[in-house]
Every structure is written in structure tokens, then in C-alpha cells.
Amino acid sequence: MQYGLRYPRDFPMTDSPLAVEMRGIVKRFPGVLANDRVNFDLRPGEIHGLLGENGAGKSTLMSVLAGLYKPEAGTILVRGEPVHFNSPRDANARGLGMIHQHFTLIPSHTVTENILLGLDEPRFLMRLPEYDRRMAELGERFGLQITPQAKVWQLSVGEQQRVEILKMLYRGVDVLIMDEPTAVLAPQEISELFKTLRAMVKEGKSIVFISHKLNEVMEVCDRVTVLRQGRVTAAGLRSAETSIPELARLMVGRAVLFDLDKKPQTPGEVVLQLEGVCAANDKGLQALKNVSLTVRAGEIVGVAGVAGNGQTELAEVITGLRRCSAGRILVTGDDVANRSANVTIHKGVAHVPEDRTHVGSAPTLSITDNVIMKSYWQPPVAHGWSLDSAAARKKAQTLKEEYAILAPTIDTPARMLSGGNLQRMILARELSAKPKLLIAVQPTRGLDVGAIEGVQRLLLAQREQGAAILLISEELEEIFSLSDRTLVMYGGEIAGEVREHDAETVGLMMTGAKRQPVEG
């Protein structure tokens, strides 16, 4: 048998057979070779990182292992025995389970009911109190704090993920595949998750950790396998013996410039000024308390903070998507507070929203219809009442090439785009309008290393062209490398401003342990 890559045997073999061994897996989708003779092995009791860019074939490979897809070729061995899965149920029966990025929970049911769903027990009577007790015990064993009686809709995202993990544990899974488990979590929740994963490994479980976040993989994984364009570029590297730059190179095939070259620049006149802005969140609780800030032309002001401290509301208030209860929002001198989104768009405010699929794009409309979303009312796309579809298509075609949006045609619906391409489409739309002010919220979240770099370069180019940029991000590194000044939000307030990018100071401010007066 011939493999695409020699299988590394440079580590001592243990007596126990491998938990999972995948050999020469080939999986094809129309027009794409998602997995090209991929080998993968998982030892009992390890956390194995599966690293790769968006579309590298990580999720496909693991979906094959979890019984969701059938490979065109290749063999799978579980604890040394060849297996053949027709469905996730078959994989479950062999002790394999996968937790997807999008949870499969029923919001109106309790935790226990969700865990029991699809099982043959209890046979007739629900006997929920007894099962509640079992779930609580199971949770305790693995350090998963959970209230079995709680309804899923009441839980935070992190808690919902715990329910998914418990679901798998209750099914007796000993190989757990987690598809980008940290993508939806806040920083504190991530460290909680890592603790749980370690507890599980101690109990002899094996975990596949799919991610494209290098630091997380380095932090939590014992070994790492890297995929690039469907092929393995490094198999089972010990994380202790590798480094972030090396992994990044293996992932993207070239050294990633993490040091972006940012030209020194003197900021121009004030473009955005907030004075004592207060606003409520969706639940009616006060989310912004007396927020004042300024952003000048040609400057990037970073807003750091743990998720849920008012950053989302801040962006929405400025872009006219949320009403504020007090204060003034001046864009180039005019008060736009409580005006519509329409007004801010006309004032030259671009918005890269946090939620790309639900806010930033129309999923079943074409790329063309999506890129004209902010300019359909003005020439060349509009002539009076009518739309010039030729002009719209021309614009879409130009932007598709300029921003390297990978899609078959400009008629492709937005929902067919991968995360990185969708974000490029949104950026293409927002930046091509040559905005005076850009509000970018989590612009690189969920993107792979190559795409992140591309997005960050685009933001810097906007800065050079004299746009005022408010960058709201939870990635401290991103804020430090891009922004000229950094504001830290805590509890709906600006906890302070830093010019020297010192992670410790900012960390203390983010957790409310320190405040610092805002400089000029």
C-alpha cells in the first residue's frame, strides 16, 4: 500500500493499540479534493490538535471518522479493528463522537432531556429526577458544572457546549472530536473548556481538537497534525517540540508576517466623537454607560474587552442600528444619535458587523446582490428608480477579483461561501465605498491565518488612506498590532486608554481590576 506521505514512526510505540488509525483517506466533493490520501492517528489519552486553514479538509476528515461522510478510499481502524460506518450512530456504537460548531440542542428541553434524546432509555416512563442525578454525577466526574434541570435556552453558549460534551460522555464515547470548540467561547469559557478536556484525558479519553488558532493548539494539545489543501503537511508533531511560527508555516505554506508594517502617521481631524452615550441591550439592561471617545482620520482606535461588556452595542449605536438613551454621537460634526442606519451610511460610515451570516449578508441572494447592499441607491448601480444590473454585475466582478473572493461566479448565493470568503465579500463591499469612518467588529474572528493577515492589511491600507477606524476585537494581539490607541471596555464603560501595549495592564483593565483615565 502506498501513502501520500511516509508515516512518522519517530516516537516510541506504546503497548496499547492506537485509539484511531486512519489510512489513505480520500474524500472528494464535486470539484474539490477535500482529503487527499490523508493519514491520521490518535493515541489513547491524548489531545491531538488538527490544524489547518479554512477549507483545508479538517472538518471533512473528522466527519469521515464520525460516520457523517463516506470516504472514496482508505481504511479506518478503531483500537486496531477495521471499521465501516454508515452513520454517526455506528460511530457512536464504537465509542466515537463529534461535537460540531453549531450545537444540536433543543432549546425548550432540559439538559437531561437533551442528553437522553435519541437513546433507547428510559424505556417508558421518563423518570427524570433519577436521570437528573446521573447527569449531575457524570458532570462532576469530568468537572463539567451543569444544572440538569435547566432548560437549554437559559444556558450560555459555554454551558450549551458542556451539554454537548455530556451528551457524548453519556453515550460512552471515548474518542471525542471537537470542531473548533473555542470559536464561540469567551476567554474565561475557553480556559474552563481546557480544564474539562484535561480531566477527560486523565480518565483515558482521547480528544481530537480541530482549530486554526495556533496559540490554543500549543496550549492544550499533546500532538498536532497539520493539513493544507487536503493533504497532511505534518503528522503527529509533539507540540512541545514545535513553535507557533513553524505551525503557521506548515499551515499556510509560507512564513506568515505577524509583524505588519505599520507606517507612523499623524492623525487628522476628529471624525467620530461620542459624548456620554448610554444605551440598553436587547434585554433592556443598560449596556453602555456614559461612553465618550474620539477617533481621528488616519488612526485606528482599538476597543479591547471580554465579550459582552458593551462592545457590540457600541458598534450598533454608532452605525444607527440601536437607539441610545443619552449622549451625542458626532460623525464629522453632525449628530447621528438615534438616526437610522441609512443616515450613517450616507455620512460615509462603513460597518463590518460581528455576525456575518445574520447581519452582514443575505444568504440566498447572489454575491452581486450582496455587494451592492450599501450602494444600490446611488449611481452607477442605480439610475433613478431602476437598478442597472449590468453595472451591478461589473462592480461585483471587479470586487470579486480585487478582493480574491473565491466562488464559482458572481451569481453564487452568499451562503455557499466559506467564512473567509464571506468576510472578504463584506470587506469588499464596505471598503470599496471609501468610508470616512470604519467600524470593524471582530473582523478576523473564525478566519484562518492567511485570511487574517489579508484582512489586517486591508485595515491598515484604509488607515493610510485616511479613514478613521474603530476596531472592536477580542483578540488582544490583533488590537496591539493594529491600533494606534487602545480603549478597554468593562461593564459598559471605557475602563481606560493605553498607548503602550502592555498585555498585563490591559488584562487587568479588562477584568475590572484596574482603571485608567482616558488621555486627551
Binding site: 474539490v32 465501516h84 441609512n342 460597518h351 445574520h358 443575505a362 444568504p363 437598478l387 455557499m416
Partner: protein, 376 residues
């Protein structure tokens, strides 16, 4: 070199199984029409089974339906008469559904339009001596304005007070039917009958038969000017939805209201406007039926045109131009169905077609793979 094989762990009991796989690519353009056509064929086959079970000969029945609806120019003309209000109510539903506004009040807006068009004639706003050049435009305007007003109510309630438009539009149907009843019983009753007087000839929409002296082919053909209104409306609505700024806003809201909000599109304003346009189209259907066919105000002027419009809109995938052929097909079914049975079988076939079409949607999103046992 050995071949890579996966050892089967379980064997299916069946010689082959069907697997549904989510489409990862955009389906080809021909797939949509092909799937719809297939669904209609399967629906007709299922209808044939039912017809056989009740003791009929399905092929004879279908052949009869075909002849009675499209057999010669005379019956085809009658089919077009039936199709005219269906095109308009189909358009009314298409435009509202494109914005995900579930206007199921087209039936009521149809009656409102009929009432408005009749009122200007019966109350004497249009003098009895006025020519058709005056009477018809005034009736047209009155019908559309009344339909729009009847659409405005649920639209405004939805936009301002977040009241579910499905419920208000449905309930308003009963209100306007009662208003028409009141008018024909109490206000414009002729000689105690439950109908108004016949309109003066100037208020009748011209029919093809009116030109029988010039073109002998037109003799006895009942197709009236309303069909032209309907076709023009379809073209205009197509242009609005796919080639205008406003239509773009409607489609954007329909696809993702939050994205529309983010793009600065006013959802409140468009909700009211679209419901009014939808109502105006249904009102035009009522006016065209009153002025082109019935020629007086009476009860029972609609065999459910407003509700059939919902089906027509869905079958046409909300495309205004496709609404025309679909409405003609339905018009034929409506006309010919009565030859077989007053209500049962034709309605049943309509229902099966709708069911099949909705079910066939799944094929647009999933591909089916036939897997032979042991092949996997």
C-alpha cells in the same frame, strides 16, 4: 498494490438504499423547472390513483379536463377568463411573499376591490351617461385604492404594532365579505334580490366578442380587457422586483431582514407599502371580475381566487412572469374541474400538486444517491 476497501460491518436488508446528501454546489439552472415538472407529473399520477379508487377512469378524466380547458379556442378563452383574477391574486401574493409578508388576505382585498369598483358605478359617482373611457379608469382606480386600503390595515398593524399580519389579513376577509353582503342586501339591492342592478354597458370591460363583426374568429369569446391589465401588471411587477431599487429592498428584506436593516432599508415603510401594493393587485382582480364577468355586485363572486392566488404564487416560485402560465393552468383546472365534479376532485388535484411541489423543494437542497447493498 491492493485496493482500498472498507470492510462492511452491517448489511442493509434492502437491495439498495437512498441517501440524501446536502448539495455543496449551486444546483444547475435547469434543475428547478425539471423538478417542478416532475412533481406535477407525480401529482397527476397520484391523482389518477385516487380517481381509480373512487371508481373513475383517470385517463378519461384527465383527457376530459384537457379538452374542457384547452380543447378549442372557445374553452381556452373561458380558461383565460378564469385565469385573469388568478394572475392578479397570484401577483398580489408573490410580491408580499417576496418580503416574507404572509398576506393571506388577497381574498378580502379582492372583495374590497370589487366593492369599490361597484360603488363608483352604483352610487352615481360615474354618471350613467359617461363613456367607457371615463367609467373604466374610475372603476380601476377605485378598485385598486380599496384593495390597497384593505391591505394597508394589516400592513400598518404589522409595521407599527407588530401584530401578526396572517391573523389580521385573514380576519379582515370575513369583514369585507360581510360588507359586500350588507351592500347587496341593504344598499343596492335590486327588487329585493341579493344583487345590485346590472351596470350600464359603458362600465363593462370590452370582450373579444365585441369585435366579432370585424374579426369573425372572436365570435363568442369571453376574454375581456382584464387579461391585458393582468399581463401588464405581471410585467410591471417583474420589473419592480428584479430591476428596481425598491424591488431590491423587498428581496433583501425577504431574504434577511436584519441585513436589510443594517443596509439602511426601512422595514416599517416597506411593510406598509408592499401590503398596499399587494392589496391593490388583489383589488384590481376584484374590479376586473366585477366589470369583466359579473357586471353587477353580488355575493359569491369568488370561488376562492384570493386563496388560489397563494398556491399560484408558490408554484411560480414568486416570479411574476411565471405566475401567468401557472394561473392559466389553474384557470383551466378550475373551469374543467366543474365538468367532472363541482368541487371535490379538481380541488383534490390542486392540493396534491401543491403538496408535491413543496415536497420537491428538498431536491433543490439535497442530492439523492442510490446505494446498492454491499457497494458502500
Amino acid at each position: 498494490m491492493t485496493t482500498n476497501t472498507l470492510l462492511p460491518t452491517s448489511r442493509s436488508r434492502w437491495p439498495f438504499t437512498l441517501r440524501f446528501e446536502r448539495r455543496v454546489e449551486v444546483p444547475p439552472a435547469w434543475l428547478g423547472p425539471a423538478v417542478s415538472l416532475g412533481a406535477i407529473v407525480i401529482a397527476l399520477l397520484l391523482g389518477a390513483v385516487v380517481l381509480t379508487l373512487v371508481g373513475g377512469n383517470p385517463w378519461a378524466a384527465y383527457a376530459h379536463i384537457g379538452r374542457a380547458a384547452f380543447g378549442d379556442l372557445g374553452v381556452f378563452s373561458d380558461t383565460l377568463v378564469k385565469a385573469t383574477p388568478l394572475i392578479l391574486t397570484g401577483l398580489a401574493c408573490s410580491v408580499a411573499f417576496s418580503m416574507k409578508l404572509w398576506n393571506i388576505g388577497a381574498e378580502g382585498q379582492f372583495f374590497a376591490g370589487a366593492l369599490g369598483a361597484s360603488a363608483v358605478i352604483l352610487s352615481g359617482v360615474v354618471p350613467a351617461t359617461a363613456s367607457g373611457w371615463v367609467a373604466i379608469p374610475v372603476m380601476l382606480a377605485a378598485g385598486m385604492v380599496c384593495g390597497a386600503a384593505w391591505g394597508f390595515i394589516p400592513g400598518w398593524l404589522r409595521a407599527r404594532l407588530k401584530v401578526n399580519e396572517i391573523i389580521t389579513a385573514l380576519m379582515l376577509n370575513y369583514v369585507v365579505v360581510a360588507l359586500v353582503d350588507f351592500s347587496v342586501f341593504a344598499v343596492w339591492s335590486e327588487g329585493g334580490f341579493q344583487m345590485s342592478r346590472t351596470f350600464q354597458r359603458a362600465a363593462w370591460l370590452p370582450r373579444l366578442a365585441d369585435w366579432a363583426q370585424q374579426v369573425t374568429l372572436f365570435r363568442g369569446l369571453t376574454t375581456h380587457l382584464g387579461l391585458l391589465f393582468a399581463v401588464i401588471a405581471a410585467v410591471v411587477m417583474w420589473y419592480i422586483l428584479y430591476r428596481s431599487r425598491w424591488g431590491y429592498e423587498i428581496r433583501l428584506i425577504g431574504d434577511n431582514a436584519r441585513a436589510a436593516d443594517y443596509a439602511g432599508v426601512s422595514i416599517t415603510r416597506n411593510t406598509v407599502l408592499v401590503m398596499m401594493v399587494s392589496g391593490a393587485l388583489a383589488g384590481l382582480a376584484g374590479m376586473s371580475e366585477i366589470a369583466g364577468v359579473v357586471h353587477r355586485l353580488q355575493t359569491n363572486i369568488s370561488p376562492g381566487y384570493g386563496f388560489s392566488g397563494i398556491i399560484v404564487a408558490w408554484l411560480a416560485k414568486l416570479n411574476p412572469l411565471v405566475v401567468i402560465p401557472v394561473a392559466i393552468l389553474f384557470g383551466g383546472l378550475l373551469l374543467a374541474g366543474r365538468e367532472i365534479q363541482p368541487s371535490g376532485v379538481p380541488r383534490l388535484i390542486q392540493g396534491i400538486i401543491l403538496f408535491m411541489l413543496i415536497a420537491s423543494e428538498v431536491l433543490m437542497r439535497y442530492r439523492v444517491r442510490i446505494v446498492k447493498a454491499g457497494e458502500e
